[in-house]
Each structure stands twice: as structure tokens, then as C-alpha cells.
């Protein structure tokens, strides 16, 4: 809702206005005047509110399904021409429980490979994907790619390119930074009175010993829009998109997310 001009030209709000709005007084009035019967009514209303929310989300799911169908089957051509050069490194966060459905994960990766994504970083908190590394790598080794697949899944009829993987879990997050802290400690603090610099971004990047670049785009497959502990240092400027649950993944929506990303212009604060 735009602010009308008369509000902008009136006396600017300051601390007095905020406090004169009677913050704590309102709080007291709102919460301490109700009876037990009122409470039951409010609980009911809360459930109604969340029911309405669920209906809205359901409607959104249906719209997404229709949109994805239109995109996948070529009725909407806006997303066909992707500027994939901009997506040098794609990261996927999957909820650990959903990641146990390895067939779903593999199908997702097949779609990404069909789109033309070359480097993917796979993260799940508990390391389920790390443990399934063997299965996934085997599926994508060049020996396995055959014509059989394109008959089953029309999306795979496009040429499948080789795809590079990195597997990450929670131990590569905060724990890795703690390890890097020890590396820096051992480097600068153990030999008596050498000069101890004030650590910079560059020092930490070096100590983390991670050779992979920061992801450009992060897709989250899970119930919540939450990165669930993906290594913090690597997502400082990463675009984050919530794709819904893995079992409801849609090819068209991946195209849409990548396309939207390629249109984003970052100022990096300036």
C-alpha cells in the first residue's frame, strides 16, 4: 500500500510517537482482559485462520502445477532459452527425511542435467545424501547413460551432459569454521610473539580450504523455506528459492526459478 503524500509531509514520527502509541498498554489491554470462554473462541478462530491459510497454499500448489505443465510441454516459451552461463554453481538443500527417497533425488538430478546445469552442490543436514554418494555417482557416470531412459521420461530425450557433484552436510557448516579457527590459531598463535593480524574475510576463506565456489542459486526442497544449516560462509550472496516438497517437484518450476535468477541484478550493498 503506498503511503499517501500527506503522511510524508506531516511531522516525522519519532520515539515519542512510537511510545505514545501505548505499546505496552495495548499489549495489556489485548491479552489480560479475556475470559476462559473467550479463549476457546480465539483458539477456534486461530484454527479457522490456519485452515484458510492451507486453502490458499493448496490453491497456490494447483496454480504451480498448471504453470509447470504449461512450461514443460512448451505452451509457454518464455523459459526455454535460459542463460545458463549465469548459473555457474547450483546448490540444492533437501530435507533429510525427504532425501531418503533416493529415486526422487536422482530424478531431480536427471532433470537438472537435462536442463544443462553442470555443477551441483547437494546438501542435507544429516548427511543422507553423502552416504548415498555411491548410488548417485554411479547413476551419472557416462557408462550408465543409455537410450532406455528417454523412452520412460520424455524430459530425458534431450542430450544428457556430464554433471559434477559436491556432497555437503551439517558437519561442513559451523564445525568447518571451528576447524578453520584452529588452523588460524595454530598458524599465528603457537609460535610465541609473532604478529597476530586481525582476521579478515580472506584469511577465513583460505583457512576453510574449500576449493569450490560459492553457489549462485540455492533451491530448497522441504516443507519450510529454511536453509537448514547449509555452510553459512558460502551463501552470503546466494539467491534462495523454496521449491516445496521433493515428492511434488516440478520440472517447469525449476526452469522458472533459474530463469528468474538470471534476471536478478545484485548491487552487493552499493
Amino acid at each position: 500500500m503506498p503511503l499517501s503524500s500527506h503522511v510524508l509531509h506531516s511531522t516525522p514520527l519519532d520515539a515519542r510517537s512510537l511510545l505514545n502509541m501505548g505499546v505496552t498498554e495495548d499489549f495489556r489491554r489485548t491479552f489480560f482482559r479475556t475470559t476462559a470462554k473467550d479463549n476457546v473462541m480465539f483458539i477456534l478462530l486461530w484454527h479457522v485462520l490456519h485452515l484458510i491459510l492451507r486453502v490458499i497454499y493448496l490453491a497456490q500448489e494447483v496454480l504451480h502445477a498448471i504453470q509447470s505443465y504449461l512450461i514443460t510441454n512448451g505452451f509457454v516459451t518464455t523459459y526455454q532459452d535460459l542463460n545458463l552461463e549465469r548459473v555457474r554453481y547450483l546448490a540444492i538443500v533437501i530435507d533429510s527425511d525427504e532425501a531418503r527417497q533416493i529415486s526422487e533425488v536422482i530424478q531431480l538430478l536427471e532433470w537438472l542435467s537435462a536442463i544443462g546445469v553442470k555443477k551441483v552442490c547437494l546438501y542435507d543436514r544429516e548427511g543422507v545424501l553423502k552416504r548415498s554418494q555411491g548410488v548417485i555417482m554411479e547413476r551419472f557416470s557416462s557408462a550408465y547413460l543409455s537410450n532406455e531412459d528417454s523412452k520412460i521420461d520424455p524430459i530425458l530425450s534431450k542430450t544428457q551432459l556430464k554433471i559434477e557433484f559436491e556432497f555437503v552436510s551439517i558437519s561442513d557448516g559451523k564445525e568447518a569454521v571451528a576447524k578453520a579457527a584452529n588452523v588460524l590459531y595454530n598458524k599465528y598463535y603457537l609460535d610465541g610473539d609473532t604478529e597476530k593480524p586481525f582476521f579478515t574475510e580472506a584469511d577465513l576463506s583460505e583457512a576453510l580450504e574449500n576449493l569450490e565456489p560459492d553457489p549462485d542459486l540455492l533451491l530448497i526442497y522441504g516443507p519450510a523455506r529454511c536453509h537448514l544449516g547449509f555452510p553459512a560462509w558460502r551463501i552470503r550472496y546466494t539467491e534462495i528459492v523454496h521449491m516445496g516438497q521433493l515428492k511434488h517437484k516440478k520440472y517447469g518450476l525449476i526452469l522458472k526459478a533459474i530463469h528468474k535468477y538470471t534476471k536478478v541484478k545484485q548491487n552487493y550493498g552499493s
Partner: protein, 283 residues
């Protein structure tokens, strides 16, 4: 005259109705879990100014009005900690006149705030300026330190204003301080026993040690991170602290943010509450 009086009465009545409706809405929403800590990235002031043909300064001023409203709604509904990303270290790269404008605006608002200390302390708001405060222009820094000192004993609600902050700065700094602390401990042990305690080197710096030295040790991790203007990145803000945090990106530009975005954000949090609590317990 009669007309004016009845018009005044009408507007007063509407304000009252509006206020009551809002209280009822908050009462319903707070039947469910309310987040302890909400963080806001104040993005879109300049775009707002362009959209409405204002000067850039006008955009920031409109942003400040929106901030006051949003804070009021958060505290009313029962949120204890509110964090705002007011000024990033990256923002120092902007044009010098814009940086000067924002610094002047911050100084003006903090000094205005200091004039109302009795009221502030009555409502128990503790203000904390989080970030590399030394980088702020001197008058702003002085005002900020005064504000922090004056509200230091308040414990009802907390307002964390991030200035000269980035996670890129916070994390290496926490490492540096952890190293300094550890080397101080090792030196003391060595003096006491004559030789170093071998265990010290094996134990090493742990995640809890780093978190003890983070700027955000003063508050629990945020439950919701709201970034206005529909942008979906963290931009170097709270990357360490958002492990179990709901990320919400309403399309509204910051000066357009208000009641509905706050309520929607909280409803999203409530929808994911059980799931995220489960994730926190598993950690």
C-alpha cells in the same frame, strides 16, 4: 464548525475501530506460538523513492516511518527481540552523499530517541547497536553509545540495530577473539604450571567458543528473517544464525511494509513451527 467536529468524531471512531480490530487479530494469531526474535532487512527505500518521484532522502524517511509501525506491531503481538539491518558495511560503498545522508538521519533519530528516555525506559526497550561501531561517523557513534548505555537495564523488549555489520566481518572477528581468549588462557596455564597443559592444544576452539564471541550472542537465533522488496538473498546478514530460521520475502518495498506482512510472516512461522522444532531437537 459542526461539520468539522463530526468529521473529527468520525475519524476518531474509525481509528478506534481499526485499533480494536487489530487487537482482536493479534489476540487470535497469538493463540499459536509467537516467534521470540524477528529480523528485518530494510530493502527498497531507494526504489520507493524512484517509484514516487521522491528524493532519495525521502525514501529513507518513508522507510523510517514504516520501521516505527513494524516495531510497534511486533512488540504488541509479543515478539521480544527485533533486529533491523539498518546499515551494512557494504553500504559504505555507496555514493558519499548518500552515506552522509543516512548517517545524518541515524544521528537525528537516535538523538530524538534520547530525548524520550523516560518513556523508553518505562516501556522497557533495550536498544543495542550491533556491528563494527568504530566505522560509524563519530557523532552517530557517540549517540549510539549513549542510547545503549541509557537503556542497558531494560529487559522487556530488545531492539538490535545492525550498523556497519556483515557476517563476513562478524565471523572472522569471532575467530580472532576466540584465538585471543585461548592464547590468554594458555599463557596463564603455562605460567602456573611451568609448562603448558597438553590438553589445551587437543581441545581447540569449538563452535560454542565462536558463538560466545559473535555480535549476536546477546539474543537467541532469529525465528523469522524478513527481507522486503521480494529479494531472496541474505546479503551477508545473519548467515550463521539462520540455521533454523524461516526466510520470508514479501514483495512490498520497505516503506510499504506494515501490519499484513508482519502477520503473514508470523503465520508462516506458525505453519512451520512443529517441523522446525523437530529439526532443532535433532541437532
Amino acid at each position: 464548525m459542526e461539520e468539522e467536529r463530526s468529521e473529527n468524531m468520525m475519524s476518531k471512531l474509525l481509528v478506534r475501530l481499526n485499533s480494536t480490530a487489530r487487537h482482536l487479530l493479534f489476540r487470535v494469531v497469538s493463540t499459536g506460538p509467537i516467534p521470540q526474535h524477528i529480523a528485518f532487512i530494510l530493502d527498497g527505500n531507494r526504489r520507493f523513492a524512484k517509484k514516487w518521484n521522491l528524493t532519495e532522502g525521502g525514501g529513507h524517511k518513508a522507510g523510517f516511518l514504516a520501521l516505527m509501525s513494524v516495531l510497534k506491531y511486533c512488540y504488541e503481538i509479543g515478539v521480544k527481540y527485533v533486529t533491523v539491518y539498518a546499515f551494512s558495511l557494504d553500504n559504505f560503498n555507496r555514493r558519499p552523499d548518500e552515506v552522509q545522508y543516512v548517517m545524518d538521519l541515524m544521528q537525528e533519530k537516535i538523538e530524538g530517541f534520547l530525548k524520550e528516555l523516560t518513556l523508553v525506559n518505562k516501556y522497557g526497550v533495550r536498544v543495542l547497536f550491533v556491528g563494527d561501531i568504530e566505522r560509524l561517523y563519530t557523532p552517530v557513534r557517540v549517540a549510539a553509545e549513549k542510547a545503549m548505555e541509557a537503556t542497558a537495564h531494560n529487559t522487556t523488549t530488545y531492539l538490535l540495530v545492525c550498523v556497519a555489520y556483515t557476517s563476513s566481518h562478524e565471523i572472522p572477528r569471532a575467530i580472532y577473539e576466540s584465538c585471543e581468549e585461548k592464547s590468554g588462557v594458555t599463557r596463564v596455564t603455562m605460567n602456573g604450571n611451568g609448562y603448558g597443559n597438553g590438553d589445551d592444544h587437543e581441545v581447540g576452539i569449538k563452535v560454542v567458543d565462536l558463538e560466545k564471541h559473535m555480535y549476536f550472542r546477546v539474543a537467541p537465533d532469529p525465528d523469522i528473517l524478513v527481507r522486503s522488496s521480494g529479494e531472496t538473498r541474505l546479503s551477508n546478514f545473519l548467515v550463521w544464525q539462520t540455521v533454523n530460521c524461516v526466510l520470508y520475502s514479501p514483495k512490498a518495498l520497505w516503506p510499504e511494509m506494515g501490519l499484513w506482512q508482519v502477520v503473514w510472516g508470523i503465520l508462516k512461522f506458525q505453519k512451520n513451527y512443529k517441523y522446525l522444532e523437530k529439526k532443532k531437537k535433532q541437532a
